[in-house]
């Protein structure tokens, strides 16, 4: 195959792959909302994009070589936008009577859809772990920099100002519990974790940037 011919095939193929990323991104945004950034930091999250793009490219190439379609760009658009349904739907090719002993249909696509579900679950798990890691990492930095007592004083002011009594009581209980943690290092991290829940994001960032520790 000449380079120009290869480009003529791969160009539309790449378009199909890029178009397949759109539903993948929408799907992740719908599933994870504002936490999608944690998914995008996980290898499984990128795996989902790679799977979508790769599968769309393969499907496009299969259609191109098997059917020799005349308008490659149109084929690429159609494949890119419709292919995602194959990965996500339990489309059934051979349907058996469902009995308690044979509850699943004999569909390869059903298996594919289940595998895709598993991949999404794995991405959620990865995102949760990354998020938990980030929380504790920030808490450890805050504790190390400022110590439990100065952080607790700031958090206490904020809790006193909370309007909702139920929330205020709950946060106060958490802070009181954090302050009676026996191990000093644990205590600092525990207070910092309460601070992460109570204080505005901008304040936390300012505390992290500060050169001098907070005053007691």
């Amino acid at each position: 195959m000449l380079p120009s011919q290869a480009l003529n095939v791969l160009g539309p193929g790449m378009l199909a792959a890029v178009l397949a990323l759109i539903p993948a991104l929408v799907e992740l945004l719908r599933t994870f909302g504002r936490h999608v950034r944690f998914v995008l930091r996980s290898s499984v999250g990128w795996g989902i994009f790679a799977l979508n793009a790769g599968a769309a490219l393969v499907t496009y190439l299969a259609i191109h070589f098997l059917f020799g379609t005349s308008n490659d760009w149109l084929t690429a658009v159609i494949v890119g936008l419709t292919f995602p349904t194959l990965l996500r739907s339990p489309l059934t090719y051979i349907k058996g009577v469902e009995t308690p002993d044979a509850e699943f249909t004999e569909s390869a696509l059903h298996v594919l859809a289940n595998l895709y579900d598993q991949l999404l679950r794995l991405a959620r798990e990865d995102a949760d772990a990354i998020q938990a890691n980030e929380r504790v990492e920030i808490a450890e930095r805050l504790a190390q920099k400022h110590g439990a007592a100065p952080l607790a004083r700031q958090v206490q002011w904020r809790i006193n100002a909370l309007a909702d009594e139920t929330v205020r009581t709950r946060r106060q209980q958490e802070l009181d519990q954090a302050l009676v943690v026996s191990d000093e290092q644990d205590r600092g991290v525990a207070v910092a974790l309460v601070a992460l829940d109570v204080m505005p994001h901008s304040t936390i960032q300012e505390w992290l940037r500060r050169r001098k520790p907070l005053e007691e």
């Binding site: 890691n133 209980q173 958490e174 519990q177 026996s182 644990d186 525990a190």
Partner: protein, 87 residues
């Protein structure tokens, strides 16, 4: 295969529910959320891990090394309120 029901205390149940709420968490965070001491929570988390209800991701750096997540079985227990062995 018959499903064996595990005997879970209120504390264990509460920990599982908190892990479900947070998605993943360290022992200290779970201690704060359940209003307990970290040293009280760590052995319980270890037990839940041994029982197959939690899984652990290890952090490469930092003071608190373990992050706990629910296993599929743990997720089932976390959604059952006041589950007991004798039910």
């Amino acid at each position: 295969m018959a499903e064996e029901t595990l005997r879970l205390g209120t504390d264990d149940q509460e920990l599982l529910e908190q892990v479900q709420v947070l998605g993943a968490a360290t022992a200290i965070e779970l201690a704060v959320k359940t209003l307990r001491q970290p040293d009280e929570v760590r052995p319980k988390l270890e037990w839940l891990y041994q029982a197959g209800l939690l899984k652990v991701r290890h952090r490469n750096k930092g003071y608190e090394r373990n992050i706990y997540l629910l296993t599929p079985e743990g997720r089932q227990y976390a959604t059952r309120v006041n589950r007991r062995i004798d039910e």
